[in-house]
Symmetry: C2
Subunit: 232 residues, 2 copies
DNA sequence: CCAAAAGTGTTCCGAATACACCCATGA
DNA sequence: TCATGGGTGTATTCGGAACACTTTTGG
């Protein structure tokens, strides 16, 4: 074991993870927030968080709390930032590792789990006061999501397996919070090789019906690495 | 204090910071590495690291270790990633927060401090084996530096107050590791508003001498926020 | 006078942008 | 038949990329 432990001022610290969860609902980008369960500040709005157990990695802890909430594994997740200020938590010295994730709001059990925890989806421009430095975390996460979305195909993580171009367009409008020209969007996406056209149509949103697509996983991986300009 | 502390498996953990230090030497991007001083693995090459004291923030800890080494404050520094795998350190469970920084190799005292610690600058393609997961950290840092350098004016952090366009070009060639057309580079940079031309010339590298510039701090800050395409 | 680095303009191409109408269909 | 969302093509502009010669001066 490390000699450092012998020194008085080098002491282990509590480590937490907090998770900024984004989803698209009603063509708007939303944030999932929770009623905090532990003191201090129990009952206030908060991000989903938990302490890191000593027998799990930090990443695993983040996956665990998301799993406990959503029942889903393999959720898209990015480590955001370590928040390590001295006074960030009045309950004691806690260092928090923030993650953000994108989830498909319509997925099985999600509705149920969200209801059974005290949670709700909120628009990004109507976020209530959050405990501790959670507001900072959310702002950094939004900036990070937008930055990432400009060059990596993350928009797809918010959609179901099969989706229409209109849905995809709305996801990007939700992320960037401004309107996108549909002709340019279609042209670019269809030429990107990211989309595999299906023969089925989705008739739920229009009389005419619109073609469904799914992702080309191969191209997806490639563009994730190389980067691609998703600025519109 | 948190109830969580009562649970057996939620225990405080040791937190360390590790710092990936980049500098430009002989027109090449280099990494500063150190002989590790603590067991286990004392004597092996390593990044500069230290434990986080309980009376300092994580960011402060990172600044402290850089200050102890270089004697410099206000060094450009970015938090990179939290490394929290269970088995990353054979000496015990340690979570490490990695930072990378850019320093001006020619600065006062730096040479002295580097020599007095057992440290050396190495080319990125000749990095020896490093302890623990430090190699991963370096690779992530290089990727992060290149990504950042494409859109933020970070190249300037590696140069002295006054510099020539040739020096700046070489910094970018060093970061991106490929040659850049000097005419396009000059055009773009001179139009960016980032450079304030001085009347002095630097004659150390050529008979003709080349004009010196300094940064326009105002534009620098602005472009840091808004982003600017530094891809060449 | 020559070697070595500094400095300078133009053309070309591709990608992003702006923009307006027809189509299919269920109600 | 009409309201609703789906689908399509072209012209323009801007920025990035490619490219070669002249200038200065210390040695």
């Amino acid at each position: 074991m490390y000699l450092a432990l012998l020194y008085e001022n080098v002491r282990p610290l509590l480590i937490a993870v907090d998770c900024i969860i984004f989803g698209v609902q009603d063509t708007e980008l939303k944030l999932l927030i929770f009623k905090r369960e532990v003191e201090p500040l129990a009952g206030a709005w908060s991000l989903l968080g938990s302490f890191v157990n000593r027998d799990e990695s930090v990443d695993t802890a983040a996956e665990r709390i998301l799993f406990e909430l959503t029942g889903l594994e393999d959720i898209y997740m990015e480590q955001l930032h370590c928040y390590g200020a001295l006074d960030r938590d009045p309950g004691g010295r806690v260092v928090s590792i923030a993650y953000w994730s994108l989830i498909r709001v319509d997925q099985n059990h999600l509705e149920f789990n969200v209801r059974s925890h005290e949670a709700k989806w909120v628009s990004l421009d109507k976020i209530p006061d959050l405990v501790l430095d959670h507001r900072d975390m959310v702002e950094r996460a939004i900036a990070n999501l937008r930055e990432k979305a400009r060059f990596k195909p993350v928009g797809f993580e918010l959609l179901p397996e099969e989706f229409t171009l209109g849905q995809l367009l709305k996801v990007y409008e939700a992320i960037f919070d401004h309107p996108i020209d549909s002709r340019n969007f279609r042209k670019k996406l269809l030429n990107s090789g990211l989309l595999i056209p299906l023969t089925k149509k989705d008739k739920s949103t229009s009389k005419k019906g619109s073609f469904l697509y799914k992702f080309n996983q191969e191209t997806y991986r490639q563009l994730s690495q190389e980067g691609y300009n998703f600025g519109f």
